[in-house]
């Protein structure tokens, strides 16, 4: 079948107008956004940090993982968190305490510049001393400010010696008993 020149031109013009029409149609999709109709009345993006958005720490989902906190009184210094941390951001050092049932956790540092907030450390924590807080604003000006220290601090040599003596005493008590 032979297609005439005129039908060619007609189909060309038709396709050009169809293109122009589709562009005009897509332009009309902008009206609800500009004029704020219905669901589009409010902006979906929320301002942060200034003005602080409507979301506060209480509005966060129940299992949201914020900055880590370690209750050092309950921490046993087992180093499970340090072992499982994929980012290797937890550093734990501990020493024997004054009595045998207590461990002195001298260093417990979490480097939040490396933390990925995966929550594995919280999962493995047996005494449940390590928890996620709902605090999420951790920005700082220096990398060193991002290291959170929960440890009890280093002990002096005299303390170490006296504690060793104490332990010795309690052990000998046990033996005598």
């Amino acid at each position: 079948m032979r297609i005439s020149v005129f039908s060619n031109i007609a189909s060309y013009i038709r396709s050009v107008f169809r293109g122009a029409w589709s562009i005009a149609e897509s332009c009309t999709t902008a009206f609800p956004y500009i004029l704020r109709w219905g669901e589009l009345r409010k902006e979906i993006t929320e301002g942060y940090p200034d003005p602080v958005s409507s979301k506060t720490a209480d509005d966060l989902p129940p299992r949201s993982r914020g900055l880590l906190f370690n209750d050092i009184d309950r921490c046993t210094g087992c180093k499970e968190c340090e072992k499982i941390c994929p980012a290797q951001c937890i550093r734990v050092e501990e020493e024997p305490g004054a009595n045998n049932s207590k461990i002195w956790v001298s260093v417990y540092d979490v480097d939040f510049s490396r933390c990925i907030f995966c929550g594995l450390c919280v999962e493995v924590c047996q005494p449940a001393s390590l928890v996620h807080t709902r605090q999420y604003e951790g920005a700082a000006y220096h990398l060193t400010d991002l290291i959170a220290s929960f440890g009890r601090g280093q002990i002096t040599a005299e303390q170490r010696a006296s504690w060793a003596a104490l332990r010795q005493m309690s052990e000998s008590d046990e033996v005598t008993l």
């Binding site: 956004y33 979906i44 301002g47």
Partner: protein, 360 residues
């Protein structure tokens, strides 16, 4: 001849009055510098801000809101940030060629821009063609920038820019001829004077062919200067800026400013040619001219011209934000197969209309 062309500047500078003793070339230089600092750069800042705010609205975002009230100082903050960055790489001689060509195109085009009946430095019989020179030089610079990279994206980007420019310039020139056919000349003053304040006297509504010519002129400008939505050659989000992907700091701000400047002067020219130029209502300009309030007249005309220009630019931005970007081969295809035939048809029709009027 020279003094005649400088007359508007002298009128301008006389109204400032403390600079009446300096020679003509200094007048011209001062006028260009003040135009640059008081018109072009603030327009760029304003349009960048409006563009970002409006596209944020269209995408249900907030947009810039930190720098100044409602983020109004964002362009300034961007500029300061870009200026602070230091260059880390040695630039090749090709990049230096780009830099000089680009800067030349940016600054020298000012002299030929029609910014009002009082601000026509070069008003010759072919002044309407001079912007094409500027557009081509800008495109040449962009192409050199692409070729200056030793990478595949750079080379392809340069060739894409060249292809787009060639494809866009043909329909743009033909569309320009349509206006010349109606006005009978390519002087800015005559092109503007064949229109009036009322939209019904504007060239683009004078007959259907001029309307087609207007659409073709604007769209071919988008192709020629690679302006969104037809910026397949240099798009930021899809091919990471194409030719500009390795630019940063001052050079990037210069490149971005060049892109804005192309868009801006093309819109101004479209407004002057098709949308009633700087024509004011109710013989305001005649009255002010009679009272010799030249500076006031020039300012009002400039504001009215810029208002229309911004409106056109925002309209194009709107279309660009809601339509998907085309590939570069689709753009050149569109320019050659759709814009060019339509521009030729518009030229034939406009000529027939002009001839019809001449015989009536």
């Amino acid at each position: 001849m020279m003094s005649e062309q400088n007359s508007w500047i002298i009128a301008w500078c006389n109204s400032i009055s403390f600079l009446s003793e300096i020679p003509g070339w200094a007048h011209a230089l001062l006028a260009l510098i003040s135009t640059y600092c008081l018109v072009i750069v603030p327009s760029g800042a304003l349009m960048v801000y409006l563009d970002r705010k409006i596209s944020a609205d269209l995408q249900a975002r907030v947009g810039p809101n930190r720098a100044g009230p409602a983020g109004i100082l964002q362009p300034l903050a961007d500029l300061l940030k870009l200026l602070q960055k230091e260059a880390t790489k040695e630039s090749s001689w090709r990049q230096n060629v780009w830099l000089s060509v680009h800067t030349m195109a940016l600054y020298s085009t000012l002299a030929v821009m029609p910014l009002g009946s009082m601000a026509l430095l070069v008003d010759t019989e072919m002044s309407a063609f001079i912007p094409f020179w500027s557009a081509l030089v800008l495109a040449l610079g962009t192409m050199l920038l692409g070729l200056s990279q030793d990478s595949v994206p750079g080379w392809f980007g340069g060739i894409r820019v060249a292809a787009q420019t060639l494809a866009g310039s043909f329909p743009a020139l033909i569309a320009l001829l349509c206006v010349g056919v109606r006005a009978g000349n390519f002087r800015w003053s005559i092109l503007a004077n064949c229109q009036d304040f009322s939209p019904w006297s504007w060239t683009f509504l004078s007959n259907p062919f001029q309307f087609i010519a207007f659409i073709v002129f604007v769209m071919s400008g988008l192709v020629l200067l690679a302006i969104p939505p037809l910026d397949g050659g240099v798009s930021m989000s899809d091919i990471h800026g194409g030719v500009s992907s390795h630019l940063f700091g001052r050079r990037l701000s210069l490149f971005r400013f060049g892109r804005f400047f192309g868009f801006f002067f093309w819109s101004i020219i479209a407004v002057v040619l098709f949308l009633g130029a700087w024509k004011l209502p109710l013989q305001v300009s005649e009255g002010l001219r009679a009272q010799e309030a030249f500076r006031f007249l020039a300012t009002i005309e400039l504001i009215w011209l810029l208002a229309k220009t911004f409106f056109l630019m925002l309209f194009i931005t709107w279309v660009a934000r809601v339509n998907p970007r085309s590939r570069v081969d689709q753009i050149t295809d569109f320019a050659w197969k759709v814009l060019s035939p339509f521009s030729l048809a518009a030229l034939v029709g406009a000529s027939i209309c002009a001839g019809w009027k001449a015989f009536l």
